[in-house]
């Protein structure tokens, strides 16, 4: 009824309302820029047969030489997964995924046991060099320890020795299973149980690698730890698992980056990240997600269905998530914090940018259980082209969470008139002393702001860049410096051609 009544605006009217021809052209140019990480690396791969069944899980577990408890846990997860239904409640649309038509294990073929980084396959190193992640010593200059994961298998970890001096364990998940099975057994699934959701169950069953990080009591990690994920092989799903444990009084800042080649078909990425913060510990987790978003017609791209959750187990712990989401065809991700201890703090800073036909349904959950718990949510959504961008967040205050405090702000910026911005905040308050505030605004890039810049000789394209970066400043300032620079550049590239 109402659709029929909606009128098409006449073209001239349209120009008046949506800026000049020139402005629209600039927008078009900016939004149509290409994905710059779209190449593949020709490396010999070892894959398991296509399909998903108990045999494959046995195969993966055997391949990784895992102890019995891991295999058992995987099988339990798989059996549970078979009983689950794929969730359809997110505000995104995508074709059905054929879980039997994918490889669940793809690893760069190892020639021999590696003794040092110099022995890493030069092609692999080239790949990561191209990405700007030099696994080698270059990174010493920036002081970032990197664990690089390609098609679900961790290929190299830098700075291991330096970290070991402090008692910090930073290695691939498989290594952790081999060398620290007691820690893995204690913490795996303790924050995201395999029963949690469809994709977490799938990940628990078939995850092939990931990163593991353990900071002992009272240690302040001397450098930023970083993981770089890359999907390379066709038809593979990437299922990595990250587990970070910070003991009493420990501190770590952890970075994660992701890219993938350009392919016509969609690829699934279903990761799980678990963070455990003990008494007084602080974990800062930053992500710059730039999986291949599909082409301008919406073909191809990564389905990014990720479960990320941290728990502040004891008093005074703090977990902070910062994410810059510019890639993926479909994103479905809610980094959450369970504030269990008293005086614990949870933070969530997010910039989610969608362009062309990208869809993102992302946000956070803050579960207040302890007394005097505090959480902050700052979410900045930017939609351009024909994309859909949703914020979905939950703030729950438990019955015993005296004096819980939450502040949420989710702003949306629309660039162009064919995109959508949506907010779905859920507030559930069970305690009278709680103070919960939620604010949201939606607007477009102000014409007066563009005019102001134009007047001062700044082109419309640059003006949009400035305005958008200013709009995201609150989030960018939470990112570690190198990442902040990268994020700003990424934003500029993703927006290229979309100015209005």
């Amino acid at each position: 009824m109402s659709d029929a009544a909606m009128k098409e605006l006449p073209k001239s009217d349209y120009d008046d309302k949506f800026g000049s021809q020139e402005q629209q052209e600039t927008i078009e140019r900016i939004t149509k820029s290409e994905y710059k990480w779209g190449w593949t690396t020709d490396i010999e791969m070892e894959t398991a047969p296509k399909g998903l069944n108990e045999e494959i899980i046995h195969f993966i577990s055997q391949k990784k030489n895992e102890p019995a408890f891991m295999l058992e846990w995987r099988l339990k997860a798989f059996r549970h997964w078979q009983k689950m239904e794929e969730p359809r409640w997110p505000n995104v649309q995508y074709n059905n995924i054929d879980y039997q038509n994918a490889y669940y294990y793809a690893a760069p073929k190892k020639q021999k046991q590696l003794k040092s980084l110099d022995e890493v396959d030069p092609k692999l190193r080239e790949t990561f060099d191209k990405l700007g992640i030099s696994i080698t010593e270059q990174k010493r200059l920036t002081g970032v320890a990197v664990d690089a994961v390609m098609d679900s298998v961790s290929v190299a970890t830098t700075f291991k020795a330096e970290l070991a001096k402090h008692g910090i364990i930073f290695c691939s998940f498989s290594e952790a299973v081999q060398n620290h099975p007691e820690l893995v057994k204690k913490y795996i699934g303790s924050v995201v149980p395999y029963t949690d959701n469809f994709y977490a169950a799938l990940n628990s069953a078939v995850f092939s690698d990931g990163s593991f990080c353990y900071i002992p009591k009272g240690v302040r990690c001397p450098m930023e730890l970083s993981t770089y994920f890359r999907i390379n092989a066709a038809n593979t799903g990437q299922f990595e698992r990250t587990l970070i444990v910070a003991e009493e009084g420990a501190y770590v800042s952890y970075l994660e980056g992701c890219t993938a080649p350009m392919r016509d078909e969609n690829q699934l990425h279903a990761a799980v990240v678990e963070i455990v913060a003990h008494k007084g510990a602080e974990v800062k987790y930053s992500t710059v997600q730039n999986w291949y978003p599909g082409d301008a017609e919406g073909k191809g791209g990564i389905y990014n269905f990720v479960t990320k959750r941290g728990i502040c187990l004891d008093d005074n712990a703090k977990i902070s998530w910062t994410q810059v989401e510019t890639g993926s065809a479909v994103t479905w991700k809610y980094p959450s914090v369970i504030l269990k201890g008293d005086n614990t703090v949870g933070e969530f800073y997010s910039v989610a940018l969608t362009n062309n036909f990208q869809q993102a349904d992302t946000g956070t959950k803050m579960i207040h259980l302890g007394k005097n718990t505090r959480s902050t949510i700052i979410s900045k959504g930017i939609s351009a082209g024909k994309s859909q961008n949703s914020y979905r967040g939950l703030v729950r205050v438990g019955k015993n969470a005296e004096n819980a405090r939450n502040f949420s702000q989710c702003d949306s910026l629309l660039i162009g008139d064919r995109c959508g911005a949506h907010t779905f905040p859920y507030l559930e308050v069970h305690n009278k002393s709680a103070k919960i505030e939620h604010e949201a605004t939606t607007s477009k890039v102000g014409e007066d702001q563009i005019f102001y810049c134009n007047q001062r000789g700044i082109s419309t394209e640059d003006a949009i860049g400035i305005i958008v970066n200013g709009y995201c400043k609150e989030v960018f300032k939470e990112l570690p410096m190198e990442f902040a620079v990268e994020a700003q550049k990424l934003l500029a590239i993703s927006l290229e051609g979309s100015v209005g």
Partner: protein, 443 residues
């Protein structure tokens, strides 16, 4: 959940047999075209079934406890003494009342007399029987029984209600007060399905007050549907007050359809009821239309009050404003779900929404979900939601001036609620509500 299935099936069977009974009692009017709509609605309800908390729209409101009661269609012609109604009238508006008993228009009890013969206020069933043009054009066109189970249930059992038609260019000199009363006579709980259709012509103006009362303390279900149509330039104030007993169940859907330059303002007050659900849907379907939605609820005991609003900005240049407030005591529950949809091309939309709630105890629970869905870029939309306690600074200010804690809190709650009451344009209603709610605070 097997328990769910049994209840659901039992109730669907009940609706089918009750519908049969109703059909048998219709005599001639079963031949009217509207009966076809009823039939379609009862079939649709059987298909939809009762909503559960697994439905996103009913996530926090479990209606199943309602249907553990044995229901009977409310007796359509109970005897009600004229003086029993007096308590429900407003000072100064007692001669402007339309009384509906168990959803049925009561000629004896209604006091409203209209001089203007072009204005029609009266029984909906008469209007259906007369084949009134506005009824044929608008009835059941906006309240969607295809997706809303309770609208389907109401439509299936719509026997009577109120029909109001105000032609073009008429400014009603006084408000119209629809007073809904439920009287349960049998042991079984009564279901009343009042239906209201109001069509307001071009540039006309009216204030409509709907109040819901229980005559005797009893468990009963009021399942009301109201459709309001505003033609070009019409102005409507709609005040809905739900003052039923604390053991009553109340489910209401109001659907508003606005044409160009029309202005709709709604004030929704809930004080009674055990489980209450209000759905208010507004479609802004003509440019330069304006909507203002205000709501207030106050819960005690184990009441549950759920307000769902949905504003659909279908065309450019419209404005909507929304403010809902609630005060929750004891182990009561409150739900607010406000959705604003701005469709593609609905440029230059301004939409503002706010929800504020006070929790007085740790057992009270508030669920808020302010939701924006925006498909146009040149818009200004914002929403805010807060849940908390009274302002400590304000409390301190009052107490440092020698006002006791209880009194200070009472003053602040009153101020909190006044924000909504101030919006009521009909002075008689505002005064009565203020004193009613203030009484509440002094408890």
């Amino acid at each position: 959940m097997p328990q769910r299935a049994i209840l659901d099936h039992e109730f669907i069977d009940w609706t089918k047999s009750s519908f049969q009974l109703l059909e048998n009692g219709l005599n001639g009017s079963a031949r009217l075209p509207f009966h076809g709509v009823r039939k379609a609605a009862v079939a649709q309800f059987a298909k939809l079934g009762l909503p559960t908390t697994r439905d996103e729209e009913w996530k926090y409101t479990n209606v199943l406890p309602i249907f553990k009661n044995q229901f009977a269609l409310a007796n359509q012609e109970p005897v009600v003494a004229k003086n029993a109604i007096d308590a429900f009238g407003f000072e100064g508006l007692r001669d402007k009342m339309i009384v509906l008993v168990n959803g049925r228009f009561s000629k004896e009890l209604s006091t409203l007399a209209i001089d203007d013969s072009t204005v029609k206020v009266g029984s909906l069933s008469d209007a259906i029987a007369r084949g009134e043009k506005a009824v044929q054009e608008h009835l059941s066109r906006y309240a969607d029984f295809n997706s809303e189970p309770f609208v389907a249930l109401n439509t299936a059992f719509t026997l009577d209600g109120t029909f109001i038609h105000i032609p073009d260019d008429i400014s009603m000199p006084h408000p119209i007060h629809l007073c809904h009363i439920v009287v349960a006579e049998d042991a079984a709980a009564a279901i009343a399905s009042p239906r209201t259709l109001m069509v307001v012509g071009k540039n006309s103006q009216v204030h409509l007050i709907e109040s819901y009362h229980t005559l005797e303390e009893s468990a009963h279900l009021t399942n009301a549907v109201t459709e309001v149509v505003l033609e070009q330039g019409a102005t409507v104030e709609h005040i809905k007050m739900q003052l039923e007993s604390k053991s009553a169940y109340h489910i209401a859907a109001s659907t508003v359809h606005q044409a160009e330059k029309s202005c709709f303002s709604s004030v929704n007050i809930d004080l009674g009821g055990a489980i209450v659900r209000n759905n208010l849907n507004v479609v802004l379907n003509g440019e330069n239309a304006e909507s203002h939605l205000y709501g207030f609820f106050r819960t005690t005991g184990s009441q549950l009050i759920d307000n769902h609003t949905f504003i659909d900005h279908a065309v450019p240049n419209c404005e909507s404003n929304e403010l809902y407030k609630g005060i929750l005591d004891d182990s009561s529950k409150g739900v607010f779900n406000g959705k604003v949809l701005v469709r593609q091309d609905a440029q230059k939309t301004n939409a503002f929404q706010e929800s504020k709630c006070l929790l007085l105890t740790d057992d009270a629970v508030m669920y808020a979900k302010p939701q924006l869905e925006i498909f146009a870029d040149d818009v200004k939309c914002s929403h805010g939601a807060t849940v908390g306690q009274l302002d400590e600074d304000a409390q301190f200010y009052l107490r440092s001036r020698g006002i006791g804690e209880e009194k200070a809190n009472s003053i602040l709650r009153h101020a909190f609620a006044s924000d909504i009451f101030e919006r009521i344009e009909v002075a008689e209603v505002r005064d009565m509500l203020e004193s009613l709610v203030f009484e509440h605070f002094n408890d």
